[in-house]
């Protein structure tokens, strides 16, 4: 699996990030998602396709409608991915702050 192609690519685009935020709280149809954007409907469809291919979104058939919902497992992967790097800096900066707070002015 090419991580860069899926996860990274998916979260790169601001519209796609906005879509992820939208479906974070509830499952939505493509139409409901598109109504939140000024972007043309096919563009939103393309974004949904990419997010689905990357498994960040899951499709669920409910009656005649297809609903999109967040795939939390995959979302966690994004956070996990940068987290060790972020933690490294968080630790260093916490240390810096603690040391300098004690430093004479």
């Amino acid at each position: 699996m090419n991580l860069r192609r899926d996860v990274f690519q998916a979260i790169a685009d601001p519209t796609r990030r906005a879509i992820l935020l939208l479906v974070a709280s509830q499952s939505l149809t493509a139409g409901a998602i598109a109504s939140n954007f000024d972007t043309a409907r096919p563009t939103v469809s393309k974004h949904l396709q990419i997010l689905t291919e990357c498994e960040l979104l899951k499709q669920e058939q409910q009656g005649r409608e297809i609903y999109y919902r967040l795939n939390p497992k995959k979302m966690k992967k994004i956070a996990d991915f940068l987290e060790p790097f972020r933690n490294l800096w968080e630790d260093r900066f916490n240390k810096l702050e603690a040391i300098m707070k004690k430093h004479p002015r």
């Binding site: 800096w89 810096l96 707070k101």
Partner: protein, 154 residues
């Protein structure tokens, strides 16, 4: 609690931006980057050289838990007290290409400040590689880990 250190990494870009707000006046934040003894403490490194001036250079050395020594160095391109340090960063004896770091120091109030660290890598691939690998130990990375990374790069 929201983490204080934020990392912004956009896909397809060979750069990242790290931001952090400190409960420190900007002068004290800046000092932590300038005084060798202080740098040594928070970076967990030995400061071999630190010339805080335009065209100056620096070299740090860390010892990992196995006792292996790793050196890092760079050249300082711009140095403005309490405002900015522009420098390169290179890990010696690794295949990782040198990176360019823009450090901006900003006063938010008398007692608070913000650091913005903009890092530019040689390529998107290199950036992703460095971020993707469990780089958590970073500078303290064990020698065998470096070997592993190196073998994956080839």
């Amino acid at each position: 609690m929201e983490p204080k250190t934020k990392i912004h990494a956009e896909d397809g870009k060979q750069e990242i931006v790290i931001t952090r707000e400190f409960d420190l006046p900007v002068a004290l934040l800046f000092k932590a980057y300038v005084e060798p003894a202080i740098v040594a403490q928070w970076m967990g490194t030995t400061v071999l050289k630190l010339e805080n001036k335009k065209h100056g250079g620096y070299q740090f050395e860390t010892t990992d838990p196995k006792g292996n020594k790793h050196r890092f160095n760079g050249v300082i391109h711009d140095f403005i007290s309490n405002e900015r340090i522009t420098r390169t960063f290179e890990m010696e004896n690794t295949p990782f290409a040198v990176q360019l770091e823009f450090l901006e120091f900003e006063s938010l109030s008398e007692e608070t400040s913000k650091l913005t660290m903009h890092v530019v890598y040689k390529s998107v691939e290199l950036r992703d590689q460095l971020l993707k690998l469990p780089f958590a130990q970073g500078i303290n990375m064990a020698h065998n880990r470096i070997q592993e990374i190196v073998s994956k790069l080839n």
